[in-house]
């Protein structure tokens, strides 16, 4: 979901972990998981801590809250995080990812 989301209720914490051999795909899988959290559970990430992100693993501890559906403003429903032109590359001061969302 792309929009101005307002959180409500109690936060819950969980760890999500993906394994593979392509960091771009790991990132895509992580974003897809956030999409499912919103669509299935109406929850949003309010804070996160990346514990590991390398060529073979992405491990993130996320804190989520319920989305206040009445006070949030929704711009675009995201259907899917696609594989199209999926890429992560190092740049001068960090990393740059290209991810295309189907809206």
């Amino acid at each position: 979901m792309i929009g101005e989301l307002v959180a409500c209720g109690d936060a819950t914490s969980s760890e999500i972990c993906f394994q593979g051999d392509d960091p771009a795909i790991l990132l895509r899988d992580y974003l897809q998981e956030l999409l499912v959290l919103f669509d299935r559970d109406a929850r949003m990430v309010t804070s996160l801590e990346v514990q590991c992100f390398d060529d073979s693993q992405l491990k993130v501890v996320i804190q989520t809250n319920a989305v206040d559906m009445n006070r949030s403003i929704f711009h675009h429903e995201v259907k899917a995080v696609t594989y199209h032109e999926l890429d992560i590359k190092p740049i001068d001061d960090g990393w740059e990812a290209t991810i295309i969302l189907d809206i």
């Binding site: 897809q32 929704f74 711009h75 675009h76 429903e77 259907k79 594989y83 199209h84």
Partner: protein
Amino acid sequence: MKQSFTGPLERIDATRWRIPKSYKPGMRVDGIIYADDALIAAIRQDKSPEQVANVATLPGIVKYSLAMPDIHWGYGFCIGGVCATDPAQGGVISPGGVGYDINCGVRLINTNISINDAQPRMEKLVEQLFRTVPCGVGRGGMIKFSTKELRQLMTEGSRYVVNQGYGWDSDIEVTEANGCIADARPDYVSTTALQRGMKQCGTLGSGNHFMEVQYVERIDDPKAASAMGLVEGNVTVMIHSGSRGLGYQVCDDHLKELRDVPRKYGIDLPDKQLVCAPIESPEGSKYLGAMGAAANYAWCNRQIMTYLARQVFSEIFEQPAERLGMHLIYDVAHNIAKMEKYDVDGKMKPLCVHRKGATRAFPPNHPELPDRYKFIGQPVLVPGDMGRASYVLVGQPGSMEHTFGSSCHGAGRRMSRGAAIRASKGRSIRQELLDCGVIARARGRTGLEEEQPDAYKDVMQVVDVLHKAAISRKVAKLKPVGVIKG
């Protein structure tokens, strides 16, 4: 990202252009794009013809890789893309040839209400539809299905919800495939997909999904119109929606499962998004089965919204929906893969036809048509934009010969969502639509701006190409007067 196509486009005739298979290594067949001179110039502006060429590399592809005149860039396959693969020749099934929104499709409901009689109540009608039909983000349906019920619904298709009271028996035979893919495998649908689908059956969604009140502005084919019950000046209702979160999840799950499968079968792909498996492999069968289940969910989705539309009309016009003549004219899928039989070198062969943003268009006398349409051909429903018009066509024999029984599905975007939003700065699209006689209601902040008429090609140009090519024939033009969107 959106660079123009600089490869060869050889004119075949007034409505077809060829990308020769010599264009790109790996192409097994030519690409053929249906378009006239005006449309082809615009089509060259994005990379969608490149996608037609890429699809031509798929194993087991038969005759050609096709694109309809509403072609535009998609993921893997272009939107408007059609191809058929032969299972007996190692033909593949590709989720990219169906799309994330499995069985996104359109249905058209008739009424016997004249537009003159409806107009005084139009604002109230649109408001009530907007209140009653769940649309937009986070709007759950009126029914929450259990896992067991979802599995049943995905097995039986729209017959399941009709039997629950959400439709008429007569709705079934005028739904493509009688609203049910027989080989659906709900057991191949993940728990996550089920969880997403539980509350969403009977909801419109957002983006370019809509429910539109229209009237028949013009009849081009009186005989075919009469068979469908279409009367000039009468109101119709069109619904455009698909398989919602359940379908998107099924697609995503199987794209993930198929990631390394092409390598397993020695398939070289020019684009990762064409990921695929031989139809007769365990992986291919699994996707086909899950896709069928999601398709059946989508038919139930549109069926429940039909029930809701009938309820609202009945309230507003103070008569039962039966008395208002609210019969379903037809329901078509435009994102699907189906096993169908075609003549290949003089032999009828079962092929897997992928339609991604393309509509089935069977001609007269096809055995799959209901009796009432056997002599006219299958209705083809082509929504345009919310300012101009939509069209009803019928399939012609040319479709079986040239396009694997397929026609176009819509107008095709000519402006990205971002460009459409920028172009709408300082304007009220809602007021502009009202000035054209269209009452529009949308939940999302930018729904109307993204979907404004200027963002789309003129659907008349698109249908004219296929009418000229004898693929599908024009029956009626429908003018919008009210629309609700998510």
